[in-house]
Amino acid sequence: MGQYLVRMLLQVVPVMFLISIIVFVLVHVTGDPVNLMLPETATEEDREILRAALGLDQPLYQQYFVYIKNVLQGDFGNSFHYGEPALPLVLERLPATFELAAVAMLIGIVIAVPCGMISAVKRNTVLDVIISFLSVIGKAMPNFWMGIMLILLFSVSLGLFPVSGRGGVEHIVLPAFTIGIGLAAQMTRLIRSNMLEILSQDYIRTARSKGLREVLVVGRHAFRNGLIPVVTIMSLQFTSLIGGTLVTETVFAWPGLGQLLVTSVNMRDMAVVQAAVFIIALVVIVCNMLTDVVYRYLDPRIKYN
């Protein structure tokens, strides 16, 4: 186990290194931030001074080394928009996005697991067709569209939930559902096809031949096996949510990472973008490793070798 973790960590380093290069290149092709940082009245001289101050007059490889050195010390530079260090700016947004992603995920699971299983067990019945159809529609609807609709329906017309912002439990319902419905749609499809495959396995036939009740056959023997690939997919979806909630965050004025990213990209606030990409990448990698551990725990066939 320990050895396994060490090996995983050894894999993470080159990936993070590659990410640093991708990010560095991206940021440097975005061009000269100086034009955006200074007011329109600034002279060419002002620009030169700022460029030198930012180290932008150095050769590219040198800039990269300086950058890597700083990053290793946890210094991603200052956000020129906020005039504060970039890393804490990113970190203080993480909880909001985490919260949203986690609740959305939960909603997705709560909807998708029963729907997917019913759909598979009752395959080709009317119920299955309805669930399949709804899940395809859920997947095909653009996120922001659904968000605005939910606001109009549940807040403006019915007055059940607050429109936007982050606050009490009632605030998270609509944004989490906006994301959760999309997730549920995808997961339902996945769980259905997974369960279908598992229900045709020999050991399900064995379980039935033992005289087990169908609930146990499905709930114990099929579900547990069906869970294994679903865990992987859920982790994939969760990690993609960390950077992927930005549309929903904008609609619901949810102060998470997504909003910070949109603002920062629009402002060319590259220190923040870099820090955010790094942090997200790190979260993704950590989640992947955790998934791996859970996966191994769930499936006794996989050993740590």
Binding site: A53, Y82, P88, V163, G165, R268, Y297
Partner: protein
């Protein structure tokens, strides 16, 4: 046995995840000091901050403030919020006349020296007294540090001399007829010298203090700024216990918040929602003219089609500005042939509330200019903010025979191109004026500034503008600017589409009169009855 194992795994995952987010919270608490603890207070207070609570006000803007540093801010949203925390020496009165703020009296000693008497008995939010040292500190900071966004407005202030604790002298590099205007705009906010020198600017920005009627409570970025009443304010007692500025980027969401009573005032109401808000039981629309005038700037560089005055005239005549206002702006706008609108120094009323439109003549002009088959090809650039307007303008130009390439740029790309003077023939620019002075409008046509942008070059105008820059005689100076306006209207390095209005949605429990300068002066916002 198996189940318990599964549960353990799931619990473990949840624990690790929550530990992760917990850590992040902690680390931001370490780095963010007060802001993170405060943000929780802010969140908790949000429900009680909803309308209905008499002493609490919630305002929704479309963008977050940039920072609590009044010297390092460059947008109106920021100023409209922090103007309640940091005060200026001089304030704008109802008709933009200068009235006492933190300075009670002022006089011009000579062309480059101004003396200000400071208000006594004023304290910062931490209890420190406000004195001449704070004025010196504040202005020398913004004048000397070129990395501050407001620096360029103040860099000609060479020194602030302390005469005594309550008297200062401003020394400028050259005669500045609009120094008072500068002292009443963003960038002129007074910071606490002692506090900053003791704690450093970073710590100050996390827990900013000023002299204003409202104190900083919390700022959750991209979410909300919460201000609370300054109990020891020297002026009339502030009337709101707590004011929350929320950041809601989506217009549809802002409107929904207003309609459901989540907020009291929203900015940037889409014109199509005006009827809906006015029809709402508890909501109404308030609109007011603002300083922003939409320009259509034209490149006069040798060799471009818009170098031909006939073409430029055709462009002005081709565009039906009133129609644009009536449709896209929902009637909320004023046509103008100058950007120095009423309320600004040097305005020429003869050019206001008037516009030229004659599509037939525009066609004729193009014929005269030699475009007999196929009109000239022009590229029209605009930011996505003005996308609709650009589309209509393009259609109108196409209508009289132009071949228009529409070039819509995402805002920061637009700013980048603008700052590097990279536009082709035409571009649309919204220009505000926080100085309330014609110089702010016309300095772009100074030879030096116009080079590469419009390449406007009229020696007469250049002479007038240069003279007005440091002319300390107001009447003469106003005349000079009025002459410039006539020239610009004839030369057309730019034409004006219209002067915009700020459209606000307001809960009926509130009386709110929107301002020309788009500020939220919180104590002017009152509970109805």
């Amino acid at each position: 046995m198996k189940n318990s194992r599964l549960i353990t795994v799931l619990l473990l995952v949840v624990l690790v995840l929550s530990a992760c987010s917990g850590n992040n919270g902690n680390s931001s608490a370490n780095n963010g000091g007060n802001s993170s603890t405060n943000s929780e207070a802010g969140n908790g207070g949000s429900d009680s901050g909803r309308t209905g609570d008499q002493a609490k006000l919630v305002i929704a803007n479309s963008a977050d403030i940039e920072s609590f540093d009044p010297h390092n801010n460059n947008n109106t949203y920021s100023e409209s919020v922090i103007i309640n925390v940091f005060e200026y020496l001089v304030k704008n009165g109802e008709n933009q006349e200068k009235v006492p703020g933190l300075a009670t009296e002022w006089e011009m000693v000579d062309d480059t020296t101004w003396r200000f008497k400071l208000r006594e008995g004023v304290t910062f939010h931490n209890g420190d007294p406000f004195t001449a040292a704070d004025v010196k500190f504040s202005f020398e900071r913004v004048a000397k540090d070129s990395s501050l966004k407001q620096n360029s407005y103040f860099k000609h202030i060479t020194e602030v001399k302390i005469v005594n604790d309550y008297e200062v002298e401003f020394i400028t590099e050259y005669p500045d007829p609009i120094l008072l205007n500068r002292l009443s705009k963003m960038g002129a906010g007074i910071l606490p010298a002692k506090y900053i020198e003791e704690n450093g600017i970073e710590s100050f920005l996390k827990n900013p203090i000023g002299t204003g009627p409202y104190k900083f409570s919390s700022w959750t970025k991209d979410d909300r700024v919460v201000l609370v009443k300054n109990e020891s304010y020297y002026g009339d007692a502030p009337q709101w216990e707590e004011v929350t500025f929320r950041m809601i980027p989506e217009a549809a969401t802002r409107v929904s918040e207003l309609l459901t009573g989540g907020v009291d005032i929203i900015t940037g109401v889409p014109v199509t929602d005006i009827e809906r808000i006015n029809g709402g039981e508890a909501t109404k629309i308030e609109a007011a003219t603002i300083q922003r005038v939409l320009h259509l700037l034209m490149r006069m560089t040798e060799g471009t089609v818009t170098a031909d005055p006939l073409v430029r005239e055709a462009i002005e005549l081709a565009i039906d500005k009133q129609a644009i206002i009536d449709s896209i702006a929902g009637g909320m706008g004023t046509v103008t042939r100058t950007s120095v609108t009423p309320g600004n120094f040097g305005a020429d009323p003869g050019l206001y509330e008037t516009s030229l439109f004659d599509a037939d003549k525009a066609k004729q002009l193009l014929q005269d200019a030699g475009y007999t088959n196929g009109g000239p090809e022009v590229t029209l650039s605009a930011s996505t903010v003005y996308k609709e307007i650009a589309e209509v303008v393009a259609a109108m130009l196409t209508g009289v025979g132009f071949q228009v390439n529409l070039d819509i740029l995402e805002p920061s790309k637009f700013t980048e191109t603008y700052n590097s003077k990279g536009f082709k023939e035409l571009f649309i620019l919204g220009v505000g004026n926080s100085l309330f002075d014609a110089s702010n409008n016309y300095n772009r046509f100074l030879l030096e500034n116009a080079a590469g942008e419009t390449d406007y070059n009229n020696p007469e105008v250049e002479e007038l503008l240069q003279a007005a820059l440091s002319n300390m005689n107001p009447e003469e100076r106003a005349k000079q600017y009025q002459q410039v306006q006539q020239h610009i209207a004839n030369d057309r390095p730019t034409i004006y589409l219209y002067q915009m209005q700020g459209v606000y949605g307001v809960n009926k429990r509130i009386n709110f009169a929107p301002r020309l300068d788009e500020m939220f002066i919180l104590d002017d916002i009152k509970l109805a009855n």
